[in-house]
Symmetry: C2
Subunit: 325 residues, 2 copies
């Protein structure tokens, strides 16, 4: 059955179930001109918008519609995590060709709904329109953070330590293994297909007093540059202690590439990179899933890495740039 | 200059000016993973999302990029108006081909920014991505309304009166005149190109205690059906008192069409249609720009019109349906 067979209004009816995962904040959900929700008066509000375009950000030849929906939500939730916030509400827009099989959209929505359910986030509205060609998915996420505590990119100070959560270069390893058709990369392939946002770690890091934070969507090098630029500092990291998964080492060996490059330029890990006062180092390590990989120096937007050969390598800000050539 | 020449990050920098029109609610604007804003603790929050697709909702052959941006914001602001709310924040997403002339996007943004400025709304974020073909614009708007006072579609009660603001069928008249190349339709052509949301009237109607409200984006017949369905009532209106502009009568005469059909099926007026207790009739008329056109009856989702010939005509819910044939 195609989208044009059921019409816009029936389609909206069909997605209006399993969308409220925390009823305490919802006054009126999908179905009126606006949804109505309650903001916690002790909190400041966070908002972010993300769009994924077919054949630019995803291809249904390589990803299931479920995974596309799941990952779109991950990208949005990760923006809230990067502020140390708590995700609350989303609204979404789908532009799709009239001839699209409704089963594909149902799978998109299932991926979106499952990820929202995992994180107790409500879907409060949607706009469904036809496109001339290709699918364009947009999600706006609204979250909360206690007043005055959101972690910006601009708070890094010389002397701070630099840390990351879990493994970096993980999703890029899975993507690489998939593109070469290699076996034995189950963990990182899953990491590529179904990345998860680090919401709890983001809140824990915020409560412990980290000074700046970013989620790693465009590769570690690019995210470090954003912190360095926003904070007016330099950053230096140590190649030897960047936490890479064993599958990353295996793939790099097979392909003759440098393992750390998957972390620096790979993107879409949705882990967190942060800076914190040096005296927090032991406390932060006790959270678990945290590795300290470098430090913040006086300077102005230079990011460097001490290589295994103990040489200084200056890292470029190159990540994924949607309009670059 | 094309979008690909300046790159995503420079483009975001270039739009990050003239976007804060009410600084009192903004903690951190564009530039981090999320924007941060303050919600008024006395208020409930409203949210809505709208998408416009090139060659589906607009064509740059018939509209200027400025007018497209202006009207997209009108559609969003109108969703807040329809709840009796106060618009506060927007975030927007633009998917556009790499080869798009940057001047066109600048004009889109100018239309969006001017309309936001008029209504003291902040632009708190944006995502700019490349598309394979065509422009897709999405705006999420966040507003506020005093707790428990938002006007839903579901509150119409038998015995209520039905009213509209200003003229209906106005934008459709302008569109019709434009498509035939007729002169002498300056007012309605402007109404088609630069419609405005009825935010102040929406708040006034809310404060006076109207029982249901909708904005007229898909034609009066479709909006009345939405109220009738959500409220579980019938509605009857009187053709003779539907407020039409003189240009609508003139165009209908030229084309041999029925004037009221522009109001019933024309759409994109962004006026408000509402129901209210009968005893409010005189009070509401004193607001000005208000016409009482009918009444609410016991029943279940039947919408009828008493024609000039004093016959009963049952109105279909047909409006613009994005996936219909």
């Amino acid at each position: 059955m195609q989208l044009q067979d059921i019409g816009e209004f029936n389609f909206i009816d069909s997605i209006n179930s399993d969308v409220i995962n925390d009823a305490s904040t919802v006054v009126t959900g999908i179905g009126d001109d606006c949804a109505i929700y309650k903001a916690n008066p002790e909190m400041e509000q966070l908002v972010s918008i993300d769009t994924m375009v077919e054949e630019i950000h995803f291809s249904l030849r390589y990803m299931t519609p479920y995974d596309v929906g799941y990952r779109l939500m991950t990208a949005n939730l990760s923006d809230i995590a990067a502020m140390g916030g708590i995700p609350r509400q989303v609204v979404l827009s789908v532009a799709a060709p009239k001839a699209l099989d409704v089963a594909i959209l149902d799978e998109f929505y299932k991926g979106i709904k499952d990820q929202c359910k995992l994180h107790h986030v409500n879907i409060l509205g949607g706009d469904t329109v036809s496109s001339q060609e290709g699918i364009v998915l947009t999600v706006t996420i609204i979250g909360e953070v206690p007043r005055g505590t959101a972690v910006l990119r601009s708070g890094a100070r010389p002397g701070d330590i630099v840390g990351v959560t879990n493994y970096v270069g993980y999703a890029a390893t899975g993507l690489g293994a998939l593109s070469y058709g290699y076996d034995g990369y189950d963990m990182t392939i899953l990491g590529h297909q179904r990345p998860d946002p680090q919401i709890e770690l983001g809140q824990a890091l915020r409560m412990h007093g980290v000074t700046s934070m970013n989620d790693i969507s465009d590769g570690l090098a690019s995210e470090l540059h954003e912190i360095a630029k926003a904070s007016g500092v330099n950053i230096v990291i140590d190649e030897q202690i960047v936490p890479l998964h064993e599958e990353t080492y295996t793939l790099a060996k097979s392909l003759g590439t440098r393992p750390v490059d998957y972390a620096l330029y790979g993107g879409e890990d949705f882990q967190l990179v942060f800076t914190a006062p040096k005296e927090l180092e032991d406390t932060l390590k006790k959270i678990g899933q945290i590795t300290i990989i470098g430090q913040v120096l006086e300077g102005n937007n230079i990011v460097q890495m001490v290589t295994k050969e103990r040489k200084i390598e200056t890292l470029e800000a190159r990540g994924y740039n949607h309009f670059g050539n």
